[in-house]
Symmetry: C2
Subunit: 206 residues, 2 copies
DNA sequence: TTATATACAAACAAGAATGTATGTATATAA
DNA sequence: TTATATACATACATTCTTGTTTGTATATAA
């Protein structure tokens, strides 16, 4: 039977997005067909084509649903002058992301899709540039925090905030990739936050 | 015309592997058809099916061609007692990998395929476990080097070799991912070795 | 109250990709 | 010298997907 009100239609749209996330996760983006997604969403391909032009548009919808909130949160926890010292602020910010991954299924699934269930070619290759831009932005935020740490004489050694920020960002990128791949949780998921703490302590003057 | 000798056949096999690497790189693994690969290799699908059971087998052939030599080299440069101090040994070992990526087209292409042109589902998901195992192995090697560094009192701070090794490995994982994504070279490729040097200096007692 | 746009479902047509089966020329072993 | 296995090329049948088109029930605006 046909959905009726605008609210119903919006609900259908969300069902399709959620269904697509599940299907992408288990079958990979390429092997997922609109029929798979429709079935999972308990609608027909007609509904899918009504709400989205094609699979790529669904993909982007999934990305936006999760990534936009994340960037905001990351921004806040790093930029806002908190009552914590800057190094602890960085530590908490990274740990917060790990907590998010653990608690938020949609975010976890989306990260997994973006990292190991998607091929960045053709329509998707533009996403790579977005990712790089995003990284620059995050590194910039971390750098600001390290600058404050430097001003407050919290840092061990004589490394520039930029060096430290790049190193931290690369560490965290690696950690996220491993976190996602380590679906058993044995190698990285359980100790992710310890690794972060340890990473930050490396820079802390004792 | 039909290839004749065994040497010719082996040559055809290699042509197919090389062709597949190129095709995978530009079209992604999923969207690459055996017809694409055959055309690129200037043979027909008949030849491809003669040498390989299917696309997955070609994928694994590409992986083995590059990854096996790499592991050996990484092993050597980290395990062998060189005349360098252990920290420099780690640094050189990581830099060596970057040099390899810059110089060896096949390795560069293969890394790019494995990281951003492949979906790890179904037949490919087993590769994830291999990657994790590989990472454990590399982390173990790095840890040994850090242990020697500790014995020689080269380390700043009071961090365990395991902590340091995990941190270094995650840093390097992140770096490789960024290196691959940064096809312009602007953000990471040009300064990759500086980042490594900086990372190692962070641990060095001055 | 009626016309129209909305929100889908269902049917259709076309192309693409895969695996297999068959054909064949040549090297090689007997 | 001949039989056979090798190393492919070619042809075929089948399945999957996709995009589009058509149909239709219902909400909503006029």
């Amino acid at each position: 039977m046909v959905r009726k009100t605008k609210e119903d239609a919006e609900l259908t749209r969300k069902r399709i997005i959620n269904a697509a996330r599940e299907v992408f996760l288990t079958r990979g983006v390429s092997r997922s067909t609109l029929e798979h997604i429709a079935t999972q969403a308990e609608v027909t391909r007609g509904a899918v084509y009504w709400h989205f032009k094609n699979k790529t548009e669904i993909f982007h919808a999934i990305r936006e649903q999760v990534l936009l909130p994340l960037i905001d949160r990351m921004d806040d926890s790093l930029t806002l002058e908190g009552n914590e010292d800057p190094l602890t602020q960085i530590e908490y910010s990274l740990c917060q992301t790990i907590d998010d991954l653990n608690e938020n299924i949609e975010m976890r699934q989306t990260y997994e899709i973006m990292m190991i269930k998607c091929e960045y070619v053709d329509e998707f290759s533009a996403v790579l540039q977005q990712i790089l831009d995003n990284c620059s932005s995050i590194t910039g935020k971390i750098k600001l925090a390290y600058e404050r740490a430097q001003t407050q004489n919290l840092l061990a050694g004589s490394h520039t905030p930029l060096e430290l920020a790049l190193d931290t960002h690369l560490f965290f990128s690696g950690l996220l990739h491993m976190w996602v791949k380590d679906s058993d949780g044995i190698r990285f998921r359980y100790q992710a936050k310890d690794l972060i703490k340890s990473h930050i302590n490396l820079r802390r003057k004792q």
